[in-house]
Amino acid sequence: MYDVLVAPFALPFMQRPLLVLLVLGVAAGVIGVFVSLRSLEFVSDGLVHAVFPGLVIGFVAGGRDALLPGALAAAVVAAVVLTLISRRGIGSDSAIAVVFTALFGLGVVLVSQQEDYAGQLQELLFGRLLTVTTTDVLVASAASAAALLAVGLTAKEQLFRAFDEQGARAAGYRTLGIDLVLAVAIAVLVVIASSAVGNLLALGLILIPGAAARLMTGRLWLLFPLAIAVAVLPGWLGLALSYTLSIDLGAPVAAGGTVAVVLVALYLALLAVTAVRRRRA
């Protein structure tokens, strides 16, 4: 057990991705609870699509080191646009779908102009967990901490607004500001998750922990530690598992993909347990 779960992390190239997944997991757990409370799943999906051209433009303009700043800039712009669209209410879902499908397509067109098109596309879509640099770890930590701090400091306002928007406005809150803080935090998280486990898997890391926590408890403040646990555990287990499969058993698997599979498996297990408990109750 020790050999599988702990020993691999003596290697620096395993420590860096573990660190990224841990900080990401804490932020994704907390912010994911608010995504679930606000039912922002579709908006988050829109952000995942919008971030992709940002990743590509950053990469095209400044190479690998410009990837994260490019994507962060695109994500913040997208978050503001999305928030404004979705506050218009009716028809906003189609507007989001059109805008962000177009942006994702733009990203693919841009990346197809590059040499080694397939390899780069793969890295952007599926992440590059095992090749993260120390700089990546620092950027991921700083960005996750900032997103977490912004949402944490406005937690009671986020809660009020999620529960009862009209009540919050009646109490004197301007909900646009509250909405923007959450949307930008989700966007930042999408970028960090995209660069770690890939654009395609980022959505799961943001949506699943919050949804899983709501399966487990109806107590508000318990949601947060539970969601963090659901976000962090698969990072650790998935990395360890992919290492063992790839190195010890000679069956090379992608680390990011393994993390995502463990995350989904954990969610399904919790879903099954909940179903059984509800049947008994």
């Binding site: 009020f160 009540g167 009646a170 949601l223």
Partner: protein, 246 residues
Amino acid sequence: MASPALSLADATFAYRRATPAVHGLTAELPPGAALALIGPNGAGKSTLLKGILGLVPLTGGALTVLGSTDAASTRPSIGYVPQSGSLDPDFPVSARQVVMMGRYRRMGWFRWASPADRRAVDAALETVGLTRLARAPFGRLSGGQQQRILLARALVSEPRILLLDEPFNGLDATNRKALLATIDRLKSDGVAVVVSTHDLELARTSCEYSLLLHGEQIAFGPTPEVLSLDNLERVNAELVDPHDGH
């Protein structure tokens, strides 16, 4: 008479400028008194309440709340109890946590509940008689209990004006009595209360003033005068119309 808590002068409220939702409203309410808004469904009662909060734009005439015409600045001094059943029953909050939301605005940004906030929440729960259900999930409470929790949420903000949107819909006798007692107590503390209702009996017993409306003002004044047969007949068709669900 003390300066009015609320005053409307030929006020018009509209979601879209071209189509006023309710217009021609002229009324005044002193502190410590209650005003009943009476009219059929779609008459503009809820719109007027949201208009007082500044959530529906004033497109004509004047609205003065606590001596100010800037609705956004007076909002924190107004308690608002929405119609029950408008909130997600699966939202994971306890009754007590819902009441605490009413204190958030006073706490300010980046601050958490102080002992004074917790005492105010306990007192409000006591006032609405739901101390024993404080830890229950809000969504599991009956409609009447949810209504009382939302009333407690409005009370902890220590409002000078309280707006209640159809608070007596679906209330059983116990909840109804508790709510009436709370309204009377607030009035004696100098709070101005505005209640939208279909319930003429409630208006007669608890509200000094009534505003009869149906897209526009039909009548305003002391309740006995407003609820005259003549006036009621002008909106009567709608008030007893079986198709409006009441």
